[in-house]
Subunit: 140 residues, 4 copies
């Protein structure tokens, strides 16, 4: 529920994202999660683009689950709650909940597991300490 989240990213549904039924096509929720996680990172002091470019940190989505609870429509303003619920040795878990702006009813819930990934070696690698510290400082 809303109170589980200390960070929300707000975005507005684009016309190109709704389908024939007039509701957001399911694939776009994965993009919403990706956008919201980038903003969560920025909010706790991490510039994802810079980290990736400098080879200091990259990530790969390994598993994700989505539940579609109610519909979002064109022009709806959505609030996307993001929290990192667990940081393991080489991976971390992120939880997402989406609400319509001003409403309590949930639109969508998602969980993801990312692996910290070395783009040169092409394999998983220990989550860096600066990441672990920033996440813990924010979430606790």
């Amino acid at each position: 529920m809303r109170s589980d989240f200390r960070f929300f990213h707000r975005l507005r549904v684009r016309y190109s994202e709704v389908d024939w039924q007039g509701i957001v096509f399911n694939a776009h929720y994965l993009t919403y999660m990706d956008v919201a996680l980038t903003e969560y990172f920025r909010n706790i002091g991490l510039d994802y683009k810079q980290l990736a470019q400098e080879g200091k940190m990259d990530m790969a989505l390994v598993k994700t689950t989505q539940e579609f609870i109610s519909s979002a429509m064109f022009d709806d303003e959505l609030e996307i709650g993001v929290r990192i619920s667990h940081v393991g040795r080489t991976s971390y878990n992120v939880e997402f909940e989406i609400y319509k702006n001003g409403f309590e009813d949930m639109v969508f819930r998602g969980q993801t597991i990312y692996v910290n990934y070395d783009p040169v070696k092409r394999k998983s690698e220990t989550v860096p300490d600066f990441f672990r510290s920033l996440v813990q400082a924010f979430e606790h």
Copy 2:
């Protein structure tokens, strides 16, 4: 594994679907699943577009899980296995596995639960008998 599937849809990765890492961006796998399920339906004798237009059957994705096992790149030919593993009273489960054409290693695995949906009443409804019969005839 491949032998679990009696139907495969083949498609080629578009340039617009790969990201900065040169691999298919995760959201596009939901589109691939959607495209492959439409073709599965056509293959067993169901025209999804016509059924939806005539109000005889529509569907809503309620839950899905994806695992990203290896990467697909621009211009790769993918084989998307689709099977309906269970038909319940108002819902059905679909399983997907994606392979690169000619290779045994799995790229992706997904599970989805769809609810049979009445677009006028905006609620779930019993899966029609013709659907149940066509699926059982094909899968068994």
Copy 3:
């Protein structure tokens, strides 16, 4: 150039919108134009979603030209200038220019012609007076 525009919509490039070269894939610029025009409408007092739903006004893109002048990359903040340069009897022309936030160099320029469209009759129709008035009041 920037001073030709009285309205700018700002958005940030999503990771899903960049391609293997690390730059925004061309098709997404059409989505950017669409998003920015919806916000331009909102800014002059038109709620596009409501007008379309009430059948008071809809539109169809009939012709568009795009020039790709420099590249936009992941996480860039873009400012999209929008202006309606001409309102004809059944159509109107919209011009777009995109700049990186804080820079003078143009990234993109686009022109579009929309036809005012009656979604029930499926044909073009005279641009409504309220639209013409709101545009003229804003642009002049």
Copy 4:
């Protein structure tokens, strides 16, 4: 018209590509053009992916015009005509026309200008002779 084209790529409209009006959202036509050009290249003996990877040839879209003549809907099979109408020193022009499979009426017409691009030097470069020869052999 159809007889101007010696190459057609066929594809089927995806559910994710249609909008609330039930027709293909305009931005997807740029993706269709991109997909069809890759297939045109393959057809005349050029593997675009390999050329780009080996640094032998890359391309950048500099200008494009699209005309939306009639609508394409979900599940429509489209035939995308592609021809390279002019090869200049550092650029080439490509023309596209889209028809519904089995119908003579045009859905869409597009023109594009691509610059041959050196991805390392990040500037335009003379179109390679092998490209010019293969295009001329096919088109004439």
